[in-house]
């Protein structure tokens, strides 16, 4: 059980941090010591009521610790001015808490204005952030929160937390109250965003799958914010410290590990493609000489434009390729997990997930064979772990009877 990360100087260091709420016997957080390395997403995960939220809120002193120290970038902030401290830390809560009487732009501009930025810089920052979270500034900056969907509000919440470019972000179940599909999308987007901004992030969830997907490092907590295991997702899945962790991960650990491998880590399969201007007859020729039942039509920039099947081509009747077939579907980016890719390809017409890069340019496809291959590699790891588990179990049994 490693309680401290490997970084020389962690971005956030919690030392013997304790919180006892008034009138309660047991501390909600009991002498927690934890190092959070710079530029990583550290997930606090654990059963309900174990103290995750309390721990997180002590970092920006929404909850004042009873004892212990908080070091931010080496500086002791346990007694620093809380308002100043909070302006340096982005904060996203599950309920988002957008200000309903302010426009999206005003919401995002709150901290920059507090910090005294001039109007021009603030406006530029708002537009930049809206673009970052993939919302068209011209369309959305003047709207009020009630005029957005749940997913859009969550994006604005993230944009607002990023507004003053804090080094540290605290996120308490930020994607908790969203439908699973949007949630998945937001998680992926957030990971891409993090790849650019490299913030130090403390992320609270009670969902182990989310933890595995989002975390560079996971702290599994039990009551009183006791750290049961603090490790990378891989290690937690392959070497759970004890039964508590094993139970918490639940069944299907190897399937969960599809959440760990990303599309960019595996070799992509190839698929017949043709440029947009190709004639149907030519496309048919390409299709005959290749495996697969459809060709993928790419536009001038190399982005997927249409799926055109053999029957579509035979019934083309002189129409152009972009007028027949179907819209590109099941598109994933390289940072998507194999689990995402699997989900996509299962429902896809041609049973493959199409991989595109950040600019939408076609890279290859993931098919079921690639996924099974990945599972097979993991399984050989698993068998080794299982054997070791067996040995440990017999050791324990031996000692009980002695």
């Amino acid at each position: 059980m490693t309680e401290t990360g490997p970084a020389d100087r962690p971005m956030i260091r919690l030392e013997e941090l304790t919180k006892t709420f008034p009138g309660q016997q047991r501390p909600a957080v009991d002498a927690l010591t934890l190092d959070i390395p710079e530029g990583e997403i550290v997930i606090l995960v654990g059963p309900s009521g174990c103290g995750k939220t309390t721990t997180m809120k002590m970092i920006n002193r929404i909850i004042e610790p009873t004892s212990g120290r908080i070091l931010l970038d080496g500086e002791d902030v346990t007694h620093a001015d809380p308002d100043q401290l909070r302006r340096r830390i982005g904060y996203v809560i599950q309920q988002i808490g957008l200000f309903p009487h302010m426009t999206i732009a005003e919401n995002i501009a709150t901290v920059p204005k507090l910090l005294g930025w001039d109007a021009q810089r603030v406006a530029a920052r708002v537009d930049e952030l809206l673009t970052t979270v993939r919302m068209d500034p011209a369309e959305y900056r003047g709207r009020y929160p009630k005029e957005l969907s749940g997913g859009q509000r969550q994006r604005v919440g993230v944009a607002r937390a990023l507004s003053a470019d804090p080094d540290v972000m605290l996120m308490d179940e930020p994607f908790g109250a969203i439908d699973p599909i949007t949630r998945d999308r937001l998680q992926n987007e957030f990971l891409r965003l993090q790849a650019q901004v490299r913030k130090t992030i403390v992320f609270v969830t009670h969902d182990i799958d989310e933890a595995i997907k989002m975390g560079d490092r996971i702290a599994i907590l039990r009551e009183g914010s006791e750290v049961v295991q603090y490790d990378t997702p891989e290690t937690i899945l392959t070497h759970p410290a004890n039964d508590f962790v094993r139970d918490f991960i639940g069944s299907g650990a190897s399937l969960k590990r599809l959440n760990l491998s990303r599309v960019r880590d595996i070799e992509l399969s190839h698929w017949p493609t043709v440029p947009e201007g190709t004639s149907p007859e030519e496309a048919l020729r390409v299709l005959r000489s290749a495996p697969g039942s459809a060709v993928l039509v790419l536009d001038a920039q190399g982005r997927p434009r249409r799926w055109v099947g053999a029957t579509d081509l035979q019934r083309a009747d002189g129409r152009r390729l972009d007028q027949i077939g179907m819209h590109p579907e099941a598109i994933v980016e390289p940072h998507a997990t194999l689990s995402d890719a699997l989900n996509e390809l299962i429902t896809a017409r041609y049973s493959v997930a199409t991989v595109v890069d950040g600019n939408g340019v076609y890279q290859g496809v993931v098919d079921i064979d690639r996924i099974t291959e990945a599972i097979r590699t993991m399984r050989s790891d698993d068998q080794r772990t299982a054997r070791r588990g067996l040995d440990e179990a017999s050791d324990a049994a031996g000692s009980r009877w002695s």
Binding site: I62, D83, H101, K146, S149, V332, G360
Partner: protein
């Protein structure tokens, strides 16, 4: 997923509703004043059609009526302003964490203010303290109308979504900034509703000022009764009712206009 995916469905921005839409509410808002004007016209025609004796004629000159009405409006306005100046800050204070302990006590006092009949309070002021006239009436009105504003201020402030406040605090807004930028604007609709109630109460209760020489439309009603001149009382009563409805109507418009956008 793809960069080009369109995120969820969204209501259209409220910028370009059908052009006529903006004017409809104003047409609706004009209806009541027109009706009230017709009522006043009817009253004027009716009074004009009657033979007035000297007492009636003296009470019902345009000058007397104008004076009493203006006085009535002044009583209402002054007392309401005082009520707001008293009750809103008190409501803010009573919703701060450090005053939790005094809340019960102060609310009880305010409740007593409303439970004691105003006429009783006015009589008390007059008999016990020889306190008469305009300002005595104002004291009575304020005591009576403080509660709705105080209560609505507190309810409004406490009704603000705690997630909004936590987000604000978490971003580094100070306690004062949270109050000024988040709590008060978000509580405005509820506070305004309380002020509207206080206004209407005050218009009605101000008729009682007549008993302690406070003036106002009550003077007409009281004078009419004591001299057995029904027409004079009727004029006072109708004018009070019209004023109350008009004030309520205007306050309603103010509520719509002052409500923060986006709520």
């Amino acid at each position: 997923m793809t960069a080009s995916t369109d995120w969820a469905t969204v209501r259209p921005p409220g910028t370009d509703p059908a052009r006529g839409g903006r004017w409809w509410p104003w047409i609706g808002r004009l209806a009541l004043p027109v009706v009230l004007a017709l009522v006043l016209l009817a009253l004027w025609l009716y009074v004009g059609s009657q033979e007035l004796d000297s007492i009636e004629a003296r009470s019902l000159t345009a000058e007397t009526i104008g004076e009493t009405a203006a006085r009535h409006v002044a009583l209402t306005a002054v007392s309401t302003v005082l009520v707001v100046a008293l009750a809103v800050p008190l409501g803010i204070l009573l919703t701060r964490p450090f005053t939790r302990r005094y809340r019960g006590l102060l609310l009880t006092v305010a409740n007593i203010g409303q439970a004691v009949p105003t006429i009783g309070l006015l009589a008390l002021l007059a008999v016990a303290f020889f306190f008469l006239g305009f300002w005595a009436a104002v004291v009575g009105l304020v005591a009576y109308a403080v509660l709705p504003v105080l209560r609505n201020t507190m309810v409004g402030l406490e009704g603000v979504d705690p997630a909004v406040l936590e987000a604000g605090k978490g971003m580094g807004l100070s306690g004062r900034q949270v109050l000024r930028r988040l709590e008060l604007p978000l509580a405005v609709p509820v506070i305004l509703a309380g002020i509207r109630t206080a206004l209407v109460i005050n218009v009605g209760t101000a008729t009682l000022a007549a008993y302690i020489n406070g003036g106002g439309l009550g003077t007409l009603i009281v004078a009419g009764f004591s001299t057995n001149r029904f027409l004079v009382s009727l004029t006072g009563a109708v004018l009070t009712a019209v004023l109350a409805l008009l004030v309520d109507h205007l306050a309603g418009i103010a509520e719509d206009v002052l409500k923060p956008k986006g709520l």
